[in-house]
């Protein structure tokens, strides 16, 4: 049976000094190896959910909390953040802020987390080299992290966390501050991750096409509450998403327009390119 890695039961949280609940009555169980996409309009509480799942709530961000919060079968509040480090990893929006500043080369930057975990040098060297190869950073190994482009820096942030082999990885809008080329680099890295490891991933993003490709399950968060969760095709084709300001994939929009223009109704709208090809084939 697949293990549950993170569990929130009737979980609500409001930040210290804020009267409103950032997330409320969240019931969520994340299974080992799952890739969950989290979508929602700005201010919906997506990042807060990410912090709650990674343990930064309640250890880093304080406030009023109710309900139950478990990580790896233990109460999160009872497990120090330093103990969770290495088991949970978080990649945030701004790539620049994730460069440690303490190391002078890309190779050393990837090793920084492993050094803090006290990893043996030989094993560390092996893991660093493997990670550099895996995320196509090997050619940049001797460059300064500050000399890299935004996309390369975000790939480096991702690689640095993954070198620590966390059980749970939270990616909080990792492409939001990148140009299209940089975002594409990060997409590729996440694809590499999903293909080569069984790390459980929570991917918070506005890029619906991307989530549709990689996620096992999509979770819709609106005004701090979960408004729906399920397989990408089921969730991302719901008409409710538009009024919530979430929108839909370009494939779904095109299919919807085509369906209404042709006055036909197809059973399932597409959310990925492959599905779109299948959907439009009868028209070609």
């Amino acid at each position: 049976m697949t293990k549950t890695i993170a569990h929130l039961t009737d979980f609500s949280f409001s930040y210290a000094g804020s009267g409103t609940k950032a997330i409320q009555e969240i019931n969520l169980a994340i299974k080992e190896g799952e890739l969950i996409g989290v979508i929602g309009p700005s201010g919906a509480g997506k990042s807060t959910l990410g912090y709650a799942l990674s343990g930064f709530i309640p250890h880093f961000f304080t406030g009023d909390l109710s309900g139950n919060q478990q990580l790896f079968g233990q109460e999160t509040s009872q497990t120090p953040l330093s103990e969770l480090a290495g088991r949970t990893g978080m990649v945030v929006q701004n790539p620049f802020n994730q460069i440690s500043g303490a190391r002078y080369t890309v190779r050393e930057e990837v090793a920084f987390g492993l050094e803090n975990l006290g990893t043996d040098r030989k094993l560390m060297d092996k893991r660093v080299n493997e990670t550099l190869e895996r995320f196509k950073l090997a050619s940049l190994r001797d460059r300064s992290p500050y000399e890299l482009s935004g996309g390369q820096q975000q790939r480096l942030a991702l690689a640095s966390i993954l070198a620590m082999e966390p059980d749970l990885l939270i990616l909080d809008e990792p492409t939001s501050q990148l140009d299209p080329a940089g975002a594409e680099e990060v997409f590729e890295s996440v694809h590499t991750l999903t293909e080569t490891s069984s790390t459980t991933v929570v991917l918070i993003s506005h890029k619906l096409e991307w989530l549709a490709e990689v996620a096992d399950r999509i979770l819709v968060l609106v005004a701090g509450r979960i408004r729906g969760q399920g397989p990408p095709r089921e969730i991302l084709t719901q008409p409710d998403l538009e009024p919530w300001g979430i929108g839909s994939t370009q494939y779904t929009r095109a299919a919807r327009l085509a369906s209404s223009a042709a006055d036909t109704s197809q059973p399932a709208l597409p959310v990925t390119l492959d599905q779109a090809v299948g959907f439009f084939k009868p028209w070609i």
Partner: protein, 255 residues
């Protein structure tokens, strides 16, 4: 990349020495600068010892250029001020009511070579030692890694913040902010520049702290290092000898 550090990458034997050994070399150079009673001995030490080490480190030319750049203001001010105002019987040339004396020149020469030797000792160390390597070596001897982190990060991040300040300046100028002109205009321009910088930095702090915690920064217990900082019994003995020599020279002068 812009950095506060003046480290010059290289693979010379000097570069490969343990940073603490190079720190001891610097201590010895400082001891020689201020310990030798006769400034000509300081010149001899500079030519024979300090310059030889710079050549051994493969950085003689940039080393000399840096020395010259740093000593020039001292040289000019000391030779002018001491020459005219130190006093003395041997007048080299008069200038109006003032006399430029040989005794003043000798005093200026003494100060200048001592400062030059001190600068040279520090340049030798700074040019050949990567700041993070020094921190790793110190950490190995029990210095707290949080303090070491602060020092190294500051050296790398301050230039990045300078870039950020420049970006804010350009963005505000693009919105029509006057940044050139008299003092009042410049003071007025300060507020719209400082506020985004501070607010942005406060937001950055949270993200930076999260990123560090995700990398187990505050995890208790022993840390390891990917980089091996070379050390040996010979270097340990050499360190003690160099520090002792520096101290002896200073004590000699004081006696």
């Amino acid at each position: 990349m812009a950095q506060l550090s003046l480290y010059r990458p290289g693979s010379s034997p000097l570069h490969k020495l343990n940073p603490l050994t190079k720190l001891a070399v610097m201590a010895c150079c400082l001891g020689a600068a201020f310990g030798f009673p006769n400034p000509y001995w300081v010149v001899g030490f500079y030519l024979l010892f300090t310059l030889s080490l710079a050549a051994w480190g493969g950085m003689l030319k940039p080393f000399l250029v840096q020395n010259a750049k740093l000593i020039l203001p001292f040289f000019l001010s000391l030779f002018i001020i001491q020459g005219f105002f130190y006093g003395g019987a041997t007048v080299l040339f008069p200038l109006g009511p003032f006399s430029y004396t040989l005794e003043g020149v000798e005093v200026a020469f003494g100060f200048t070579v001592r400062i030059l030797q001190a600068i040279a000792g520090m340049t030798l160390f700074i040019f050949s030692t990567r700041p993070d390597h020094l921190m790793l070596a110190l950490q190995k001897h029990g210095f707290p890694h949080q303090a070491m982190y602060l020092v190294v990060t500051t050296m790398q991040i301050i230039p990045q913040f300078q870039n950020k300040a420049l970006a804010i300046l350009e963005a505000q100028q693009a919105r029509g902010l006057e940044t050139q002109g008299n003092l009042i205009v410049r003071l007025k321009a300060l507020f719209p520049m400082v506020v985004p910088m501070i607010l942005g930095s406060l937001i950055d702090i949270d993200e930076r702290a999260i990123a560090l915690e995700s990398r187990a920064f505050s995890k208790p217990g022993p840390k390891t290092s990917l980089i091996e900082i070379p050390d040996s019994e010979t270097q340990k003995i050499l360190r003690w000898c160099l520090v002792a020599a520096g101290l002896l020279l200073v004590v000699w002068r004081a006696l």
